[in-house]
Symmetry: C2
């Protein structure tokens, strides 16, 4: 396994989610805009946790969710990210490996605890997040294993990696190593607040460093600071080889040069929790791309994986995605 | 809060559940009978966890689940149990307090970690459990807070408490203190394997020490070593003031002396995971009893609470039980 070929290697913040139902009023009182991801320190994490209802813990992290999705589709993947060797770090490691994802990044034996994300799910199925990065701030270029990167067709990076300071260096090293190996770099813009924090750097990355970009409507319009989706679309198609832009129930738009596909969203039953929808769209899309599918089918598989994840609580698949995708083929 | 009157104080093993879907073949290979609860040591817990699929962590423990249910019904409750002051101990404490249950038992600062229960949920919605008792083995009579017991109408004990050696002393002290305060003692037989381990002691407890007993069909027939439910019924009615015997989809039978009620099961949609059905039946029943309801209504509320819990993954209520109970009144 540790020397076989890989479809995708994901690099991201290694986080355990604590999910709880919450009323919007709690989030207003705590100055957290609905749908936002807020970075918090340890003390604030404790204070917010005290205000939170009974929770459910499950492994998360954007790129971690994507890699679990690729494995559930039958793809071969690896993950690079930093946990502490504590109870939550063991949970994160177990869950990723049990899903079939290779994960060998060295654990911290001292320093900050494994990252936690307090996920407040409001009755509208939206999630508002407060993330304590913990051990993630220790991820550095020394963790970017060159041989793992070289074994994978695509290196997938999450925009959130720009938050922990040393991870940027890891991020830049990963891009260089990937391109040196003749492989592709994919990036998700992660969330509009993240785009706001790193707009200049993300714009630079998209002009040469990133081959495949994932973004939803609010992220891509925020990146280019334009008022409408089509304006952003015209900009991004000049920058990246492939752009996969998601628009919730309106499906996704996939562009490569002159090739453009408008892909309908997959059918969803009850929308329970939208956490991870973007992560799983990327999983389906990259699975398709690394298995020789056309762009339209890549977008369709992305939509199927996203539909599964929003039908239940949590951001890791509960059903075998390979079954769902083949049934919908 | 810490000096108000309480409806129920629950005493039990303080456990965080790790739930995962599993195939029956895995349990056969590991010599775990379907539906059983197996006590395991730390090394075996690690080995089994390695074999387990991706999991979800949530607070559990039989009496802990019951107390969360009573709080969700609007009742006032406290819990006595032992956790380590580690990440899972903090999760357990948070979840119980966030549910509205008083929990002040001193945490361990060294010694064994907080107890974990690996819950394997098979496609038939049955759960097979492997429990590492950890910090629970440190619960002793010094943890039985006399003033808390005296504030509660009922002291509720789980049979599983006979597994950690010093907890028996705590158990016996709790019975004495409860009766000295003129209060009632309730016991759940927990599971047929537990009954097998402590049959003699449980039979003794039922003849004088326990006022209210909860058992399902396999537990009560195992206790009296009889082949049929009705034989067990005739025996238990001579022993305890109140017996509430559950029979799955056939509802429950509630007996107090000459008073007998056959209570239909509440309607259930999809059966997802039966973990906690008995715990929540006890919650509903004891809520009813401590709020002046007749025995039949007590059984009905128990059935409503049990139906909620088997409709989703996990053993703590996801919906407000007070709303469900009043709608069904």
């Amino acid at each position: 396994m540790a020397d076989g070929l890989l479809d995708v290697v994901g690099i991201g913040n290694a986080i355990v989610d604590v999910l709880s139902q919450a009323e919007p009023s709690l989030l207003h009182e705590q100055d957290m805009p609905l749908g936002s991801m807020n970075l918090i320190d340890d003390a604030r994490a404790d204070a917010l946790y005290d205000l939170m209802g009974p929770g459910v813990e499950m492994s998360g992290g954007s790129a971690g969710n994507t890699m679990a999705g690729i494995a559930s589709l039958g793809g071969a993947g690896a993950f690079i990210g930093k946990v502490h060797d504590d109870a939550l770090g063991q949970v994160f490691t177990h869950d990723l490996r049990a899903a079939g994802v290779e994960f060998t990044t060295a654990h911290l034996s001292d320093g900050p605890a494994t990252a936690r994300c307090l996920v407040f799910v409001t009755p509208d199925a939206q999630r508002t997040m407060a993330t304590y990065l913990g051990a993630c701030v220790e991820l550095g270029p020394e963790d970017i294993d060159v041989s793992t990167i070289a074994r994978a067709q695509v290196t997938y990076l999450e925009g959130y990696l720009w938050d922990p300071p040393r991870a940027k260096e890891a991020f830049r090293k990963a891009i260089k190593v990937t391109h040196d190996a003749g492989r592709k770099v994919a990036l998700t813009l992660s969330d509009p607040f993240c785009v706001d924090r790193y707009r200049g750097e993300f714009l630079e990355l998209l002009q040469g460093d990133v081959d495949i970009v994932f973004a939803n409507e609010s992220e891509i319009t925020s990146l280019y600071q334009v008022g409408n989706f089509d304006d952003a679309l015209q900009k991004v198609r000049g920058h990246c080889e492939i752009a996969a832009l998601t628009r919730g129930e309106r499906g996704s738009l996939v562009i490569r040069g002159d090739e453009v596909h408008g892909v309908d969203a997959a059918e969803v039953g009850e929308i329970v929790d939208t956490t991870g929808a973007g992560d799983l769209y990327a999983a389906g899309f990259l699975y398709g791309l690394t298995h020789g599918h056309g762009l339209r089918r890549c977008g369709e598989i992305g939509g199927i994986a996203a539909a599964e994840i929003i039908g239940h609580f949590g951001a890791r698949p509960e059903h075998n995605l390979a079954d769902l995708a083949s049934r919908a083929a």
